[in-house]
Symmetry: C2
Subunit: 278 residues, 2 copies
């Protein structure tokens, strides 16, 4: 396979850095040494491994993009920028006909969809790039739609452990709780037990030391009222590698859509990426 | 709701006894005090709670059935007999236009299907009456069909603990392994870890003492090759209560099909019972 040129936007941010480091080591890609960043970023470049990446603020990017497009024809953008940049960035990509994979959440999602649908290039947009979790969620949604009330009378218990900095309740946990509700359990989002204490994470859950600062461990437990049945689902993610794999799969999916000119629908999700394996 | 008369066949067998005990205490049903049994059974009747049930061997039942049908019009049979009786019993039910729910496995399943389809009464036939497990399996089958290869590269570990008397590997575990294989994992049925030692069940797994003689505890663990992701599914069943609930749901489903004369398809499975809740 020819290398796919990719530009990773969102440096010097954490997730973008992980993506860039992995991309540089991945033979399937060639690395475009520029990255869209925020207006507030003062540095002009950043080093990733031994590669120097030039950072482009919104005020600078319009002047530079045509040169970059000339030097790295056909590149695809990976967007892990800031939630406030979502809509503006999408408009920029579409205006310059740059296909993109966007893992950044937030912004006005309806506007985002409109931007892509009114443009002429395809994009994969997904709030969660961990494809096994997306697949799991799809299985539960199927169950909830097909067998509503299957777990009627069962009690539900949900715990989710993430790095201390994460203030809000996990979006994945909320989405799965919605499925379990449809499957018949009474459970409020506010009953999700959020674990953010590193000591509890290490001692009680067994999260490895090196992932205390970046992990997502989820447990969903269903119990029959008489205690005669227990169903449990866990998905424990350490670090960000699972998001890297999913994001790169999305890039490859997008490239095959472009190569075969098969993107009448333009806007794709991780479900499209997953089902493409069929 | 009017009581649904049910006859429970397979007494004095264990599962039939549990069904009968529960049925006698369940206001949704009236109990028909007869039970089809095997030719080798020497006793003529059996007590369930305070109720005496007359046992009918194959050689006796033809003479008695019309009287019973006259006394308990519209009854439905629940069949938890012996695998060797499956085909013969089904033919008996169909010949006498008795709708039935059959949880007995074994026999010639194709012949069984043909018998029902060529008859004029509906039946629910299912090798597993635990509806939450059937639903879970359906969700995984959906995932395996929709997202083949989703867990490619992941390792799988499967353990299943059952009472010491169960010699063969759990059919549910085998069915789920087939799904996980389609989802991309390399795993042989022979790698399923069968736990049959009561000491290990008590000490290591924590199966409660009172369920050592009747339980099914399953754990399926998927691990990413780099250790960065773990997915785990457990279904731990104590005793037989879950099969009672599912069987009675199947009876109620069948009754509603009969009452509305909605059984063109005649042969139903637990999936039909589950989706009826929609």
């Amino acid at each position: 396979m020819n290398c796919i040129p990719i530009m990773i936007n969102g440096l010097p941010g954490n997730v973008a850095r992980i993506m860039a480091t992995s991309a540089l080591r991945d033979e399937r890609f060639s690395f475009v040494p520029f990255s869209l960043t925020g207006e507030e970023i003062t540095q002009g470049e950043v080093s990733v491994d031994q590669t120097t990446v030039t950072l482009l603020k919104p005020s600078e990017r319009e002047d530079k993009i045509n040169d970059i497009l000339g030097s790295y024809p056909g590149f695809i953008c990976i967007d892990y920028t800031h939630p406030t940049a979502v809509n503006d960035n999408a408009k920029f990509y579409v205006a310059h006909k740059i296909p993109f994979v966007m893992g950044t959440t937030g912004g006005d999602r309806q506007d985002l969809e409109r931007t892509v649908k009114n443009g002429s290039v395809p994009a994969v947009i997904a709030p969660n790039m961990a494809k096994q979790i997306v697949g799991l969620q799809a299985m539960l949604e199927y169950g909830a739609n097909t067998f509503p009330g299957l777990f009627k009378g069962f009690s539900l218990q949900v715990t989710e452990s993430h790095q201390q900095g994460k203030a809000d309740t996990s979006g994945t946990a909320k989405a799965l709780v919605a499925c379990f509700n449809q499957l018949g359990t009474d459970f409020e989002i506010s009953n999700i037990e959020k674990i953010r204490d590193p000591e509890i994470q290490k001692e009680n859950l067994g999260v490895p030391e090196e992932y205390i600062s970046g992990h997502g461990w989820h447990t969903y437990t269903l119990k029959a009222p008489d205690g005669s049945a227990l169903f449990e689902l866990k998905h424990n993610i350490n670090g960000r590698q699972i998001y890297v794999s999913g994001t790169f799969d999305a890039v490859i999916f997008l490239k095959s859509k472009i190569d075969t000119n098969d993107f009448e629908q333009k806007l794709f999700t991780m479900i499209d990426v997953l089902t493409a394996g069929k």
